[in-house]
Every structure is written in structure tokens, then in C-alpha cells.
């Protein structure tokens, strides 16, 4: 296993370099001079020139990229152009918000999806199955800001249980503030997991070893939640892993609706300001996280199914 992990770590390096180089080139390709944007639309050209030089943007692109990479190697991400704050610190606080949100959302979506998938698979093509699939489609296909606002209206305005928005203070405060956003993301993720898991369970229920298990008189709950589930969860794990990867930078709308300082909204602001150091650092963070998530999913495959040779 150690060798495998080492191999995966080595493989991650070209991925990270590839991503950061691509991000570096693409963002410079897009029109928009950071100096002009930071100074505002009416900035005089002289001011733009001095700022351009101060920010080191006049240095040739290769040197800028090399400085970035050498810095990144020892976790020195330089300074955000617009916020004059160390990029590392800036992203650190925001990464915590997004990761905590995604973890809670994943847990919520699993606790919603698994029981419903089992119920739908067991009562296949009957009213229960259809209504589960029908209603799960609502929260899945509904625009996230609409779902988010409905939850705020209901749980904070009407029932006054939870704050309307913000990240709260202290760990307890953070968790409490993240309940509604996590539910919004969870209600989006759950239907995808539900559908793939349902088909997986239906497949597994038809196998001989399940019939053998029933012949041994094992309890129904044990058969489903041990024997059936472990065999049918691989495609669902893949879908979950992928979606978390995308959602790292994809939660902008939810972060805005719930005023959460996450990675997604930071990326949009950084792009708006053409804040190159922040964009590149964010891309690296996304790269490392996705590589880690995919590694985790692959390890999960071999745990879930010993026949899978890594």
C-alpha cells in the first residue's frame, strides 16, 4: 500500500503543475489588466502604470510563473493583489469553510440517500419508488438560490431555529450556521446518490449470494445494509467523489446566498480582480483536494471490492 501511495503522490505532481500552468496561461489570456481593475474604471494611465510596475506585472510571464512555483513549493503563495494579505492565510480560512460545508453536506446527502435508495429499490416500480424518485428530482433540479432562500424563509424566518446567513463564531456557531447551506447542498447531492445507489441495489438483490444469505435465514436488515449495500455502492462513491471535486469551486451561489466566505466566491472575486496570485493558489488548492479525493475514492474501491487490483 505504501508503494501505491508514493506512486500516486508522484503522479500528483504533473497534475498540479499542469493545472497551475493552465490556470496561469488562461487567466493571462483573458483581457483585463489587474492594475486598471483595482484602481477602478476612472484610474489615470499614469496611476495604472505605476501600480503595474509595483505589482510586478511588467516582469516577463515565465519569471512570474517560476516565482509562483518556487514560492508554492515552500508554501509561500505571495500576496493577494487586491487584498494586500498573504494569499496562504486568506485561502486557509476560506478552505476551512468550504471543506466543513462539503463534509456536512456529504453526511446529510448520505443519510438522506441511502435509506431512500433502499426503500426505492425494495419497492421497485411501485408507488413508493416513483414518489421518491419524483420528489428527489425537485430538490435536485431546483435552482440552488431558490432552494436556499426557501430553507431560510422556513427555518430561520418562520421557525426562527437557525440564523439566516453568515458563518457564525466559534465551532458551535459555525456548525449551526452551516446547517441550512449543508442541507441545500445535501438536497442537491442526495438525488444523484439515490439514483445510482438504487440501480446498484437492484442489481445486487438479483445475485445468488444474496439468495444464499436469505436461505441462511439472516435478518433482512443485515442482508440489505451489510451484504447488498457494500456490493452496490461503488458507482455511488464515484459520483460522490466527483461532485465534491466540482463543488469545491462550484458553490458560489450558495456561498453568496448564505454569506459564507468560501473558496468558490473567493475564486469569482479573484477572477473579477484578475488577482493572479490568488487564482493560482486557489487552483493549486483545488488540484491537491481533487487529487486527494480521487485517491480516497480509489482506495475505497479496493476496500469495497477486494477483486479490484489497484
Amino acid at each position: 500500500m505504501g508503494a501505491y501511495l508514493l506512486r500516486r503522490a508522484v503522479q500528483a505532481i504533473p497534475v498540479l503543475i499542469g493545472i497551475s500552468l493552465a490556470a496561469f496561461l488562461l487567466i493571462h489570456l483573458v483581457p483585463g489588466d489587474p492594475a486598471r481593475i483595482l484602481l477602478g474604471a476612472q484610474a489615470t494611465p499614469k496611476a495604472v502604470a505605476t501600480l503595474h510596475e509595483q505589482l510586478g506585472l511588467d516582469r516577463p510571464l515565465p519569471t512570474q510563473y517560476l516565482n509562483f512555483i518556487t514560492g508554492a513549493v515552500h508554501f509561500e503563495f505571495g500576496e493577494s493583489l487586491s487584498q494586500k494579505v498573504g494569499v496562504g492565510k486568506l485561502i486557509g480560512t476560506r478552505a476551512e469553510v468550504t471543506l466543513l460545508l462539503l463534509m456536512m453536506a456529504t453526511l446529510l446527502s448520505i443519510t438522506i440517500a441511502v435509506p431512500l435508495a433502499v426503500a426505492a429499490a425494495l419497492r421497485r416500480n411501485r408507488p413508493v419508488d416513483h414518489s421518491i424518485r419524483l420528489f428527489s428530482m425537485f430538490t435536485f433540479a431546483m435552482p440552488s438560490f431558490l432552494l436556499g432562500l426557501l430553507l431560510i424563509l422556513f427555518f430561520s424566518l418562520k421557525l426562527k431555529w437557525l440564523p439566516t446567513s453568515g458563518y457564525g463564531s466559534g465551532f458551535g456557531g459555525h456548525l449551526r450556521a452551516l446547517i441550512l447551506p449543508a442541507l441545500t447542498v445535501g438536497l442537491y447531492l442526495a438525488p444523484i446518490l439515490l439514483r445510482t445507489l438504487r440501480i446498484g441495489i437492484i442489481d445486487t438483490l438479483g445475485t445468488e449470494y444474496i439468495e444464499a444469505a436469505r436461505a441462511r435465514g439472516l435478518a433482512r436488515r443485515l442482508i440489505i445494509f451489510k451484504h447488498v449495500l457494500k456490493n452496490s455502492v461503488i458507482p455511488t462513491v464515484t459520483v460522490l467523489g466527483l461532485n465534491i471535486g466540482f463543488l469545491l469551486s462550484g458553490l458560489v451561489v450558495i456561498e453568496n446566498v448564505f454569506s459564507l466566505p468560501g473558496l468558490g466566491s473567493e475564486l469569482v472575486t479573484a477572477i473579477g480582480n484578475r488577482d493572479y496570485p490568488t487564482i493560482q493558489a486557489l487552483t493549486l488548492v483545488f488540484g491537491v483536494s481533487v487529487v486527494a479525493i480521487n485517491l480516497l475514492t480509489d482506495l475505497l474501491y479496493s476496500y469495497l471490492d477486494p477483486r479490484v487490483r489497484l
Binding site: L26, A141, T196, I202, P235, I271
Partner: protein, 303 residues
């Protein structure tokens, strides 16, 4: 044995009742299985028909503004109400459907085909190809999508060309990863080993034999993903990267509705519900196809 023979055997009417019940349940089972697919196709077909045949159905110009009649709630005259410029939202939804249905279906199919093929071969072959594809998938998934789309739109200019390229270039990775994961398990199965011993070519084994079993989860997921691509257009148009105004497009309609949500809920909600309806349609199709492909657990077991 015919039902009445059994009736006789089971002794008169009691037997008949049993037969009838049994037959009803089996029929019901089969009916429901077909219903999923049929209802799904029906929903999508109806929506598509209304959208593509809009002019014939008497839907006027979707961009016709009526500033005095702005933000009117749903009424007989405007079943979906009017937007901030007094335009009839139902007409805009209908005309927008053409763009969204084509965009969603084409991008999903392209991504599904490309991704599943690449993933299946990679999963089957293993070795360096698998590693290369995997790491390529990592890169594509990790890469911030907005930066990617922004760069493409800078080259391709406004309109959906950029969105088409961007979405396909990214979502194939989803299917590649799913196909690979399934293939890892499938390639260990006996029938694949048997096919190998029979000397089948890799291409034949992977595409004719392994693929049908690998593709089921992807089918279900692709049908759900169709809706995601429509919603993606919503966030793109919000960033100024979507269709050219005033062209009606579902994503843009929903985005426009966000600002007036608390006073005029219908502007975003009703187009949103149409997207949900289409989502339901496609996912029923997905389940219907997947059920048909799969081993039907209810009829297996004893001969």
C-alpha cells in the same frame, strides 16, 4: 395450463381468485416497468414539441416588451406571469426550450459517449493508460471551471459556442471516471476471462461485452446531468458568459428571476419548475433504460 384448468384443479371460484390476483400482480409489475420509460419519453416529447412548434401554437414574439405590464403575477392572459420588462414568461420559456433542450441533450450525449469510451478502455487496459486518463480526469475536475469557460468565451466570442466546448471538455471526465470504476470490477468477471481465452480482441471484449454492464450507472447519471447543464447556463449567464440577451434561455430566465424572487416569485420559480419537469422526464427515461438493461431480480432464481 390455462387459468380455468387450474381453477378446476384448485376447486372452483377460490382458484379463479388466486389466478386473477397472481396475474394482476405480474401485469402490474410489467406495466410499471414500462410506464417509467413511457412517461419519461412522453414528458420530454411534449415539452420538446411545444418548444419547437412554438410559432405554430400561437406563441408570439418572446422579446415583445410591455413596460407598463411589468412583473404581473400569473393570470389567464400570462399563465407564467410577466418579467421585469413585461414580456410573457411562458412564451420566453417555450422559445428558450429550443436552446436548452438541444444544448443539454447534445452536451450530455457527447460527454457520455466520449467519457464512457475513454474510461472503459482505461479501466480495462490498466497500466499507464489508466494512470494517464485518471490524472487527466483529476486535472479536468480540479481545474476551476469558470476560468476555463472565461478563456474559451474570450476566443469563441458570445453565444453558446463557448459553453458547448467548455461543458463537454469537462463533464466527459465524470463518465470516464464512472466507466473506469465499473470496469475495474467487470474485467475480473468470468465472462471476460472466458472471452479472453476465446481470443477476442480487446476492442470486441470492451465494447461488445463489457460496456453494456459498465454503462448502467452512467446512463442513470447522464439523465440527471442533463438538467445540471441547463442550470449551469444559469450561472454562466449571470457572469455574462451565457446567451446573448434578449434571447430567451431557461438558465438566463431563472437568473433574471433571482433579484425579484421575494416580490415576484413566479419569474424564477415557474421556469425553474419547467426545468424540474424536464429533469423528471429525463430521469424516468434513464431509469427505464437502466431497468431494461439490468438483471431483473424479480424473475431470476429457480427455473
Amino acid at each position: 395450463m390455462s387459468a380455468d384448468a387450474l381453477g378446476l384443479k384448485l376447486g372452483g371460484p377460490g382458484g379463479q381468485a388466486v389466478v386473477a390476483r397472481l396475474r394482476k400482480r405480474a401485469a402490474e409489475e410489467r406495466r410499471w416497468a414500462k410506464v417509467t420509460l413511457r412517461v419519461g419519453i412522453a414528458i420530454v416529447a411534449i415539452v420538446a414539441f411545444v418548444c419547437f412548434a412554438a410559432p405554430l401554437l400561437g406563441f408570439a414574439d418572446p422579446n415583445q416588451q410591455n413596460l407598463l405590464g411589468a412583473l404581473k403575477p400569473p393570470s389567464l392572459e400570462h399563465p407564467f406571469g410577466t418579467d421585469a420588462l413585461g414580456r410573457d414568461i411562458l412564451t420566453r420559456v417555450v422559445y428558450g426550450g429550443r436552446i436548452d433542450l438541444t444544448f443539454a441533450v447534445l452536451t450530455t450525449i457527447a460527454a457520455f459517449v466520449l467519457g464512457t469510451l475513454v474510461g472503459a478502455v482505461a479501466g480495462y487496459r490498466g497500466g499507464w493508460l489508466d494512470t494517464f486518463v485518471n490524472r487527466l480526469v483529476d486535472t479536468v475536475v480540479a481545474f476551476p471551471f469558470i476560468v476555463f469557460i472565461l478563456a474559451i468565451v474570450t476566443i469563441t466570442g458570445p453565444g453558446l459556442k463557448g459553453a458547448y466546448i467548455g461543458v463537454i471538455a469537462v463533464s466527459w471526465a465524470l463518465y470516464a471516471r464512472m466507466a473506469r470504476a465499473e470496469m475495474l470490477v467487470e474485467r475480473e468477471r468470468e465472462y471476460i476471462l472466458a472471452a479472453k481465452t476465446l481470443g477476442y480482441s480487446t476492442r470486441r471484449i470492451v465494447f461488445r461485452h463489457a460496456l453494456p454492464n459498465v454503462v448502467r450507472a452512467s446512463i442513470v447519471f447522464s439523465m440527471a446531468e442533463i438538467v445540471l447543464n441547463i442550470l449551469l447556463l444559469s450561472s454562466l449567464s449571470y457572469l455574462g458568459l451565457g446567451v446573448q440577451p434578449p434571447t430567451p434561455e431557461w438558465g438566463a430566465l431563472v437568473a433574471e428571476g433571482q433579484d425579484v424572487l421575494l416580490t415576484s416569485w413566479w419569474v424564477a420559480t415557474l421556469p425553474g419548475l419547467v426545468i424540474v419537469l424536464v429533469g423528471i422526464g429525463f430521469s424516468l427515461i434513464g431509469d427505464g433504460i437502466a431497468d431494461r438493461f439490468g438483471r431483473d431480480f424479480s424473475l431470476s432464481g429457480g427455473e
